[in-house]
């Protein structure tokens, strides 16, 4: 079993520690610091997020997405064809993002995540996985003023993001995580999704994980198993019905399961026993050596202290699980 985080990490520490990122962002807005100075603060905070994941004992980490304003604009701002519009609610959370608008053909121009990945890898003793928002989700959360159909828009984004994955290939990451939460709300779009995944992964050599959250994949799990992903990530907190899907349909023997068990959106800390019982139940369907245990989603929904506690709990559970099986 491997422990992992799933994406974001809180950018500021709990009070009374000063929120350096937050005050730097304010200063940047007021023009009191330069973008380069802000970038240095992001560097420091990224190192902090890496250090906390490493201290917590995770096997595979992310850079905490400290530089992401949100999962949509981080990509859309760096591609051509998009403008950025007003605030929208992000799924059923109390978190908001600025909505990208496709005004013309969308295209990849330059690497988006590569520099950030290099930085994180340099500063982490543990393996790091870059995260990329998937084409389907990016399209669903954007406005389309250019393409004739959602399908065309999704496919154009898949081709653009394929170049991003190829650029990451050159860095030989241990795994690249592609986030596609939006497909859970639209299982009817599976054919479109399949086509997009084919375009997205064409010629990509790195192992790629598909991560979903904020719901269950009951109607999709069998189809996910046919797609060339190394890991399939499911949310067992908001999507407790993923248990039904898993137990009814089983899980492909040549894939890993991203087991998003610890609720990333609630401060209540799961007990070690509770998680061990869930792992025991899971082991009847998926051998634990093919499980990536993690939180149910990115951890930026939580205050820093609570986020760290969730990660520490992952390692405690892993140790306890090893003792049980010994």
């Amino acid at each position: 079993m491997r422990t992992t985080s799933v994406g974001s990490y809180p950018k500021i520490p709990d009070l009374p520690a000063p929120g350096r990122w937050r005050s730097a962002a304010e200063k940047l807005q007021r023009g009191e610091i330069t973008p380069e100075e802000f970038r240095r603060v992001e560097d420091e905070v990224t190192r902090e997020a890496i250090a906390e994941q490493v201290e917590a004992g995770l096997d595979l980490i992310t850079d905490g997405q400290i530089r992401w304003e949100d999962g949509q604009t981080y990509f859309a701002r760096r591609m051509s064809g998009f403008s950025i519009d007003g605030l929208q609610r992000w799924f059923d959370t109390n978190v908001y993002y600025r909505q990208p608008v496709a005004e013309g053909p969308v295209a990849w121009q330059q690497p988006i995540t590569v520099e950030d990945y290099r930085f994180a890898r340099q500063h982490s003793p543990k393996p790091v996985k870059p995260v990329v928002t998937g084409p389907y989700t990016l399209a669903r959360l954007s406005q389309n003023r250019f393409y004739r159909s959602l399908g065309e828009f999704v496919l154009a984004l898949a081709r653009a993001l394929n170049q991003e994955l190829r650029a990451l290939d050159a860095e030989s990451p241990p795994l690249v995580q592609v986030d596609e939460p939006a497909i859970l709300q639209h299982p009817e779009d599976l054919p479109m999704f399949r086509e997009a995944v084919a375009a997205l992964l064409e010629g990509v050599r790195s192992p790629v994980a598909l991560y979903t959250y904020f719901g269950d994949a009951r109607q999709l799990l069998a189809a996910f198993a046919d797609l060339p992903f190394a890991v399939i990530g499911l949310d067992f907190a908001a999507g407790s019905r993923n248990w039904d899907a898993l137990e009814a349909e089983g899980f492909p023997a040549d894939r890993r399961l991203g087991f998003g068990l610890l609720d990333a959106r609630n401060t209540r800390l799961e007990t070690v026993d509770e998680v061990l019982r869930a792992l025991d139940r899971l082991s009847r369907v998926v051998p634990l050596d093919r499980v990536d245990l993690g939180p149910s989603a990115g951890l930026e929904f939580l205050p820093r202290r609570a986020a760290k506690a969730k990660l520490v709990r992952l390692s405690e559970v892993k140790r306890a699980a090893l003792e049980v099986t010994r």
Binding site: P10, K11, I12, D14, L15, G19, W21, R22, A25, E26, Q29, E69, D70, L87, R89, D92, N94, V95, Y96, Y97, R98, N266, T267, R268, E300, F301, L302, P303, R304, R305, A306
Partner: protein, 328 residues
């Protein structure tokens, strides 16, 4: 409410805090001033807002929420069973203190009643009692205590009900229960939110209102009309009255709090724009159904922007009244 004119004007609840109060709140958080000193400034700011609303000619006033940080944390602070978990980012560099339920929730005593009495004592116009609804308080808090969301929401409903009853006893003839989170999980949770609101308003004779914003209103329409309140207040202006199309397909059977000025733009609308919004809305509402209001609370605007928007709103409503002439 026979003494109200046609198209009564009102607001959604919050107004911007004057700079002396923001400064005092910062000092109070750092322990540099006493609670009593802060309260005096909150009262001063409340007086100023009551006076401004009277000068502007609004019909149903609010206390402006000078003593509230945000609409959920304020109630969490005052109720039993909550703590503040910490700061959570909502977007950009905006953070808010998110409450966490750590034990059984309940009311220690009246929460807003003292402020209601204070504000009402300053004016002959009716002042609205302003509450945050149980579903929204639950949805925007962490929950470490109740095994299910339902249990938490229903327990909160009982607490907010007690507060509503006390507001009515204190003389509130209008009580607004805000539920901006009501459409978060429209399929899964709408009935729960409605049931909770039924508990809140049970036995009240006051005119009840709920405010809903920032989300997919069409998803909960027309079942939204089952909410047990007389008026639903909605943001129409920021989507250029697109919701009217939805109401055209299925008639809106309650009074409407018609949002005619955008709460999140700097620009003040003109009276003509407000009048035009009211006219357009009369294609789907009867005149008697319409209360005129901003889209949302105005606390993120400056005082000058707020006054300019409200002046245009009141003037637009007056012109609409004149236009309808004798029918008013």
């Amino acid at each position: 409410m026979s003494e109200l004119p046609l198209f009564p004007t009102t607001t959604v609840g919050s107004f911007p805090k004057p700079s002396y109060l923001l400064e005092a709140r910062r000092k109070w958080l750092r322990g540099q001033i006493e609670r009593g000193a802060l309260r005096e400034l909150e009262q001063q700011a409340t007086r100023e807002w009551i006076q401004r609303q009277e000068e502007l000619g609004l019909d149903v006033l609010v206390d402006g929420e000078m003593y509230r940080g945000d609409m959920v944390a304020y109630f969490a602070d005052e109720l039993e069973g909550f703590a503040i978990a910490g700061l959570v980012r909502s977007y950009g560099n905006r953070y808010y203190p998110k409450p966490v339920v750590t034990g059984p929730v309940g009311r220690k005593g009246p929460i807003t009643v003292g402020w209601f009495r204070f504000a009402q004592s300053l004016t002959g116009k009716p002042v609205k009692g302003m509450l945050t609804g149980p579903y929204t308080i639950a949805e925007w808090s962490f929950n470490e205590y109740y095994p299910t969301r339902r249990e938490l929401v229903m327990e909160l409903a009982r607490a907010i009900h007690e507060e509503a009853v006390d507001l009515e006893r204190a003389g509130a003839r209008f009580i607004q229960i805000d539920e901006p989170a009501i459409h978060t999980r429209p399929d899964e949770d709408f009935d729960l939110a409605r049931e909770a609101l039924e508990v809140v308003v049970d036995g009240l004779s006051a005119y009840t209102i709920t405010h809903v914003c920032y989300g997919d209103v069409p998803r909960i329409y027309p079942k939204m009309l089952d909410l047990p309140v007389q008026q639903i207040d909605l943001a129409l202006k920021n989507e250029d009255f697109a919701l009217l199309e939805v109401f055209r397909r299925h008639p809106f059977t309650k009074d409407i709090g018609l949002g005619v000025v955008d709460a999140h733009s700097h620009r003040a609308e003109s009276p003509e724009e407000v009048l035009d919004g009211i006219r357009r809305s009369l294609e789907v509402f009867e005149p008697r159904q319409v209360y005129v209001s901003p889209d949302c609370g105005l606390k993120t605007r400056t005082i000058e922007e707020t006054v300019a928007k409200l002046r245009a709103m009141v003037e637009g409503a007056r012109r609409a009244r004149d236009e309808l002439g004798p029918r008013a």
